[in-house]
Symmetry: C2
Subunit: 160 residues, 2 copies
DNA sequence: GGCATTTAGTTGAAAGTTGAATTAATGCGT
DNA sequence: ACGCATTAATTCAACTTTCAACTAAATGCC
């Protein structure tokens, strides 16, 4: 895909430090958030799915849109939905307007589950991450990662 | 584990912005790095394993140490080693000093594989991430994430 | 209307990951 | 030197994710 350029531009010490700090902290951070969330029998991905559903109108969303917004593949969402359906947190309803489609609908039980998990998760995000950032840090982080994501969005054609 | 505190401290707008920017950009970033690396038939985790091996003395490391430094479970490393061994990139050698143990040893072929992959991976880290950060951004990021990791290391007992 | 193409979503098999159980060797205390 | 707890590493079974193939409905086009 990319044309191989001649001499690789290796990372400077400064770049290396930034990259390694970011990647190692992030892996550890994600691991601990996952582990915290697992006490509610949720993965981060499942949480994201439920969270997105929970603040959609009617707590329902089309499968494809949900997959896209939760940044998981359609196939993965299908499989997870099957599991979460078994757990009674969501159900699927046929879509009248487009009969190929389905609505992913959050149940009352699912709502209760996320309402229960959310405060702990937020607390976890705090104690693991946010509480260690100053207000200025937070602003800089937001700026930096918004920029990074903007660029990625441009570079990386969304296929799903 | 944690004692449930009374009222959840929800995220302020600033905190929310930082958190969401970070998490969404990170997911996209990791996806694109993985996807770039996959052209060399490597995942980030496998790359990390090989990279760590490649700059150990003799290009060999004990399984447990390798697992720890690459931040994957021993079980997972065992499985990956089996696959990478089949690919001819590594082999395992019995350890004389401690006969419960094994050395993970990088082969010449493995060395060639990572030497080939590294420039592309570095380029990928650049174009996806580092090139969009100013020198100052890089320094701040390093500082922030070093701090975050330090705290995590303290909080989260390493079990593996 | 009729035919090709695209889109929504699911499925099944293969590959990857996890966590607990297992095997075997080491080390420590008395 | 004995027994017991610990450590190194693998294995098994359950679960999750991916990838490609599939079904069925919608759309576009002439």
């Amino acid at each position: 895909m990319a044309i191989k350029s001649s001499a690789p531009r290796w990372l400077s010490a400064r770049e290396m430090k930034a990259w390694r700090a970011y990647i190692f902290a992030s892996r550890r951070l994600m691991d601990s958030l996952e582990s915290d969330l697992s006490e509610h029998d949720l993965s981060m991905a499942d949480y994201e799915v439920l969270a997105q559903l929970s603040d959609s109108p009617e707590r329902r969303m089309r499968m494809s849109e949900l997959a896209q917004i939760a940044m998981i593949s359609k196939s993965r969402l299908s499989h997870r939905m099957k599991v979460m359906e078994k757990a009674g947190w969501v159900k699927r309803e046929e879509c009248v307007e487009d009969r190929r489609g389905y609505w992913a609908v959050m149940t009352e039980k699912g709502w209760k589950a996320i309402v229960k998990a959310a405060p702990d998760h937020v607390e976890s995000v705090r104690t693991r991450f946010l509480d260690h950032l100053s207000a200025k840090d937070q602003e800089e982080l937001a700026k930096i990662f918004d920029r990074v994501e903007g660029n990625l969005r441009g570079q990386y054609a969304d296929e799903n």
